[in-house]
Amino acid sequence: MATSSASLHRHGHVGGVIEDDHAAYQRMVRMLRIGLWLFIISDGFMFTGLFVSRFYLLGGTRPELSQALGLIVTSVLLASSFYMNRAETLIEHGDREGFLRCTLITIGLGLGFFVGVVFLEWPLAASHIGGPAASAMSSVFFMMTGMHAFHVITGILFLLVIYFNGRRGRYTPQRHWMVEACANYWHFVDVVWIFFYPALYLIGTPVALGH
């Protein structure tokens, strides 16, 4: 099976093994999975650092933010995670059209989240608590949302890569490591927001024009 050997190279970052059988691919994916999870753990430490810094600096206060907008962007990101999972499930079962459709929806929802945070929430927050330079509170807010938004953007780029490669038919039910990796990264971005949302929007007493 020459084609599967070719696609082996395409998906695997790990080198070396020229073998056509499923088992070799599985071995590589197992290694890549461990690598990806190690990266996620590492990145998680950075976000934990930001999370802890928020409580260290702001304690029992939180910035005054739009509750409605917060709930909306959170729901949008949750929905995107759902569609991401659906896309991965569909390619696992060989439904390429469905996979492409769901990936596209995920990209759209991810962009929606990004727009909601950066272009709607940021100006709104700036009017409540001031810009990034106004106080420690606003700095923490912009840093946490900004760092998360940066990960959303990289996730969207990754999603675009799997969308276009998916359109060229690069992924099969047996071989779609890139899709799995992208999905895991995207869910990780969601997990980060699961903690950031209560930390920024729900916990503590709201303070306008912080400090």
Binding site: R30, L90, D190
Partner: protein
């Protein structure tokens, strides 16, 4: 034909599983929101967040595949 219908059942059940998880997450988020408005206790909120995170990590990120060894699909 049997194998095709069997695989499409499997697919349908996998898709349904995703829907159920998403619904659970949505409900938890709503509870979180209401708790945040009515009774903003940080420990309740963080517990809810932890619960959501664990659900995502287990069912969306398939963390168990890392430990599944060969062929963990």
């Amino acid at each position: 034909m049997d194998t095709i219908s069997e695989s499409s059942t499997k697919k349908a059940s996998a898709v349904r599983k995703g829907v159920i998880i998403a619904v659970v997450l949505a409900v938890l988020t709503l509870i979180e929101f209401v708790v945040g408005l009515v009774l903003p206790n940080p420990w309740i909120l963080l517990t809810l967040a932890l619960l959501k995170a664990l659900i995502v990590i287990q069912f969306f990120m398939h963390v168990s595949r890392v430990f599944a060894g060969e062929g963990g699909h």
